[in-house]
């Protein structure tokens, strides 16, 4: 390797991307798992999450509420509470949006051919992207995103040091930021939470039961509609959190920002084995690295080709993804 620090830097950016994908991929995996629907609008829910936080921060300055409500509060604490509030609010917006979408667009089609629901999902996705692009809704443009907290970067060179604002890190050092840490932290927490939810709790088992046979689930007394809404809600909440963190990380938003991350996350979910929660994470990390490495060492325009070639190869080797259970069907 010519330059190990460059490699490390690229690896870090791949890791960050991968964890963002993971947050979206989880929603895809869960919804697909339960209603066998590729919810194409999921990426747009992610986008709405980013916009919700944009309005909360730039227009309503919600991230500063602790400071204005309790003057004299420790500024770090204020930023922390304010930012968490913003994230929670965006998650809430996404949850409401996702439940509405589910009720209005998907639920009536639950017994229709699957492809009809898929088309509807694509329709909802288009609608969110273009309705959002109207001037009186969001905007057709890229909007600079104001962060609720400042980026702090560190560099690694004989230990970890802070990068002073406005200055460049020294040569041959690897930098990372607080956003990177937050993304990883949140993503891992979500992961653990979900794993627990699905494997151990009653509603989790009910989700799997509904996914297999809805009629039978109803005979058990499971309110299938509630369980499905719940699944959408959980997925949307994570996408919302992901949207905020994505916006904070790349700090520019527009109404089509969800399309590509959404698609990549979906592919990541498939790569890892759709329906599998650790699979979503592993798939997302692979996608993130594949992209970052291609961008760093081959050329950016080729990154999709590389990422999707990996997908095809993995599917050929393991037809249901890395963690996917083989399609068992007793003849």
């Amino acid at each position: 390797m010519k330059n190990p620090t460059l490699f490390a830097q690229i690896f870090i950016s791949g890791l960050q991307l991968g964890f963002v994908y993971a947050m979206i991929a989880l929603g895809y995996t869960m919804v697909y798992g339960i209603v066998k629907l590729i919810n194409f609008a999921h990426g747009d829910v992610f986008m709405v999450g980013a916009f919700a936080s944009y309005y909360a921060v730039a227009k309503y300055r919600l991230h500063q509420w602790p400071a204005s409500a309790f003057p004299g509060i420790n500024p770090t604490l204020s930023v922390l509470i304010g930012s968490i509030t913003v994230i929670l609010l965006s998650m809430l917006v996404c949850v409401i949006l996702a439940i509405t979408i589910e009720r209005v667009a998907y639920k009536p089609l639950r017994d229709a051919p699957r492809i009809s629901a898929l088309i509807t999902a694509i329709g909802v996705s288009f609608f969110l992207e273009f309705y959002g692009a109207l001037n009186f809704v969001f905007s057709p443009r890229f909007i600079p995103y104001e962060r609720p907290f400042e980026v702090v970067a560190w560099y690694i060179k004989n230990g970890i040091h802070l990068v002073m604002p406005g200055q460049q890190a020294p040569e041959n050092s690897v930098t990372f930021s607080n956003i990177f840490l937050i993304i990883i932290g949140v993503s891992v927490l979500i992961q653990l939470f979900l794993q627990y939810l699905v494997r151990r709790t009653k509603i989790g088992i009910a989700m799997r039961a509904c996914s297999y046979d809805r009629q039978a689930a109803r005979l058990m007394g499971i309110d299938v509609d509630r369980v499905i809404s719940f699944t959408f809600a959980v997925g949307a909440a994570f996408a919302g959190a992901g949207g905020v963190l994505y916006a904070i990380a790349y700090s520019l938003i527009w109404t089509q920002l969800g399309i590509l991350p959404g698609l990549k996350a979906f592919v990541a979910a498939v790569l890892g084995g759709i329906g599998s929660i650790p699979g979503a994470l592993v798939g997302a990390l692979i996608m993130g690295q594949a992209e970052a490495m291609t961008m760093g060492y081959i050329s950016t325009p080729m990154r999709d080709a590389v990422a999707f070639t990996i997908l095809i190869i993995v599917l050929l080797l393991r037809p249901t993804g890395i963690f996917g259970e083989p399609e068992k069907e007793k003849a």
């Binding site: 051919p113 329709g123 109207l134």
Partner: protein
Amino acid sequence: MNGDARGLLVLGLGALIGTLTLLGINKWLQRFRGIPVLSSFTLYLIGALITGAAAVYLGNQLNPLLTPLLGSVAEPGPLNSPVAQQVIYFLAVILAGIFAAQISFLFGLPVLTLGSDYFGIATLGFTIVVNTLMINSDTILPFPEMKGGRGMIGIPKLTTWFSAFFFMMAVIIIMRNLVHSSTGRSIVAVREDEIAAKAMGIDVAGAKLMSFVVGSFFAGIGGAVYAHYIGFLSPGTFNFLAGFNPLIIVVFGGLGSMTGTIAASFGWIFFLEGMLRVLLSQMGTEAPTWRFVLYPITLLLLMLIRPQGLFGSIEWGFLKGPEFITAPRQQPEPAHKSAI
């Protein structure tokens, strides 16, 4: 002819071309109900690019050789006569179809063993990989003529109203005959239940490959016709989002119905283009956006009202299957009674 009538003509031609492509895809969907098979759009692109590239490339390479044959603009040679051009054009279109079919064969061979949803996703991946390669065809692949993402210009605009119609009818008839033949039934059987199909002596992988390749052949033809209609081609036109359009149209028309696909593709083009024209005069800058706000709403309403699509599985007129049951059968004497 006044301007408006000419406009209709243009729209109609677009609709024909749309139809042509979509039929190829319908075929596919009939089998893979529930999966977005997006790669047909890629194959459409391949077909288009291949004729385009061949036209440009051959034009450049053969120019000196052909000059005596082609003649000059003032004095056209024999190969430059409209008839010769049309012959070359027809061959090119069919070749493009064959080429697309071959590509899909090579791709399909390994991938068709995947389960249905995974197959759909693999084709999505295929779409994106091919598209990316096309965008880089001038820098990474050795085809400078294709100009990569910048698009090919100067493809001879040879598609006429007649040729589009001709290809459309040909495709429709082939499709109809295929669907109502034993092979067509075997493909449907595979869609319904693979294990049962195997037990009926159907070569499942073969049937899948068959439908995949036939669909790609049509897609390739559609692409070639399109290339020679628009005269300019860029891979950006055929990205994965655009790949949804045919899917939407087919579902809109009704999955089991060719009639529906044909009707829906005409309707779709008139609707979208017409809407743009109407809106543009009223909404100015935001018209294109409004169009894509209203369009999904329409789509949603239609899906909610008629989830099975406009035509469901109804077939009209000559698209119906042949009827071989001559007389209504009366209750027969239970034959087995005699055996006891």
